[in-house]
Amino acid sequence: MATIDAGAATGRTVIYRHSLLVRLSHWVNVLCMTVLLFSGLQIFNAHPALYWGQYGADNDPSFISTEAVEDGGKAKGLTHVGSLTFDTTGFLGVSDVDGEATARGFPEWLTIPSYQDLASGRRWHFFFAWLFVINGFIYLAYGLLSRHFRRDLLPARDELTPAHIGHEIVNHARLRFAKGPEARHYNTLQKLTYVAVIVLLLPLMILTGLTMSPGFNAVAPWLLDVFGGRQSARTIHFLTAFSLVAFVVLHVAMVILSGVFNNLRSMITGYYAIEQEDKK
């Protein structure tokens, strides 16, 4: 609170930054992506191994998998990545269920429901997948029609010069965030990241998800060719999910570092306060 008041005293301006539709779709997305991640990990636990190609099962080589092995009377959780093996007891492969070491891919605090239940995990996953897709289409239609994409997300040509981007990277690394007129708009790194999430990662999640559906394979067999098979699509689905987790971690970190109250308020009420530039 204190900083905001101090800002007001020195001529802070408040702008209307996020439209109602952007705010709503943002929070619906938060809900959907959270449920999708944790129910997705429940589904993964039913067969905690990833393959490449059209097929893949127990007798085929996987390149990421978790496994529970017996080691001197104790259950040990192993995670294999390519030819490497890591002891991940307590987290991957083996984790505590009611105080007992139990074989499972991801631990119970990361899955919906917490206990092993593929049927429920699927129902949660597909319900929120539908909500996510509907929300996404509404957002895309709005973004195009209202010129939100062109106005707020598309970087201008001069923003894409190496000098400009280099300058922004240095500012980010020093945690120096924009003030004054510059803070009215997203910076270039922000724009590029949001565009990558909106046009690359999220559509990739949907398309790889659909490629795992035997029904949808008959609708659009070409998706199998695009991703190199159902098992490749499953692997890409999983890796893209973790790219999104990385994005969310970075996104939340930047929200906190660049003024958590102001940022949260702008995504809830739409209003964002801009502080004056430092007098140099």
Binding site: Y55, S114, L118, F127, V219
Partner: protein, 258 residues
């Protein structure tokens, strides 16, 4: 004013979300009947959308011999232990018969030899387990649609039920017998076959000998093994658990196209 309301609404939403996400009441929410019925909306939506996009006859991808899985994983029952089945097996299924009945004009029984003498379709397709793994196999069998035309469905028939020789879950009331069901769109789909041959050899016991269903646009649990009886019905509510299949009675989707 509106911003306060919005914020409050957000906080309520956030709290509900947090409790839904396993911070505390997660599993209670998962188990509530109301939650389950809301989540079931997605199954209807997926089925209607896929059927709309598919039309009735879009084909599942067919592969080549080079794509066959070196080892096709057997799943579910791999050796039925009921005496009747063991007797059939010991006689190389020469005494086994497939019964087709229910809402049909001319019920019939077919031996394995009868089935093998009928025109067959061969297809190399991918089998997708609901757990996430896939295997590619080559299946030869009798198109179900042709058999159903022979017996003649009564107008009130809406589903085809497959009864199996394996009791997957031991129970006193018989609710643990494996069974499956499909609607007429899938029943008459050109790739829906009753397979007696896999990868060029007689179907192995682990894969459902002597006869298993292939419904290629759906997941593995629909591909019922150890078939004994096919029944045309008007609704699924009165059979076993009432949801149209062994796994469906245990919470899985009846429409397994996704």
């Amino acid at each position: 004013m509106s911003s306060i309301l919005t914020r409050r609404r957000f906080l309520i939403g956030a709290t509900m979300t947090a409790s839904a996400l396993g911070l505390s009441g997660c599993d209670a929410l998962v188990e509530s009947d109301r939650t389950k019925s809301v989540l079931r909306i997605a199954e209807g939506l997926s089925m209607k959308t896929q059927r709309f996009l598919l039309g009735d006859n879009a084909l599942a991808r067919e592969f080549t011999e080079a794509d066959l899985s070196p080892v096709f994983r057997a799943n579910g029952t791999s050796m039925p232990d009921n005496p009747q089945y063991l007797d059939w097996m010991n006689r190389q299924f020469s005494t086994w018969k497939l019964e087709i009945g229910g809402l049909v004009e001319k019920p019939m029984q077919l031996s394995l030899a009868d089935l093998k003498a009928l025109p067959a379709r061969t297809q190399i397709t991918r089998h997708d387990c609901v757990e996430g793994w896939s295997a590619i196999g080559k299946w030869t069998g009798v198109p179900l649609g042709a058999l159903l035309k022979t017996v003649g469905l009564k107008p009130e028939a809406r589903y085809i039920v497959f009864h199996c020789a394996d009791e997957y879950e031991k129970s006193l009331d018989g609710s643990g017998w494996y069974y499956e069901s499909i609607d007429l769109v899938d029943a008459f789909h050109p790739q829906t076959i009753l397979a007696h041959t896999m990868n060029g050899r007689d179907l192995e016991v682990a894969h459902g000998a002597p006869l298993r269903l292939r419904v290629e646009r759906q997941l593995g649990y629909k591909q019922a093994k150890y078939l004994t009886r096919i029944e045309a019905v008007a609704d699924l509510g009165r059979l076993y658990g009432g949801k149209g299949g062994f796994w469906e009675d245990r919470g899985y989707e009846w429409y397994a196209g996704i």
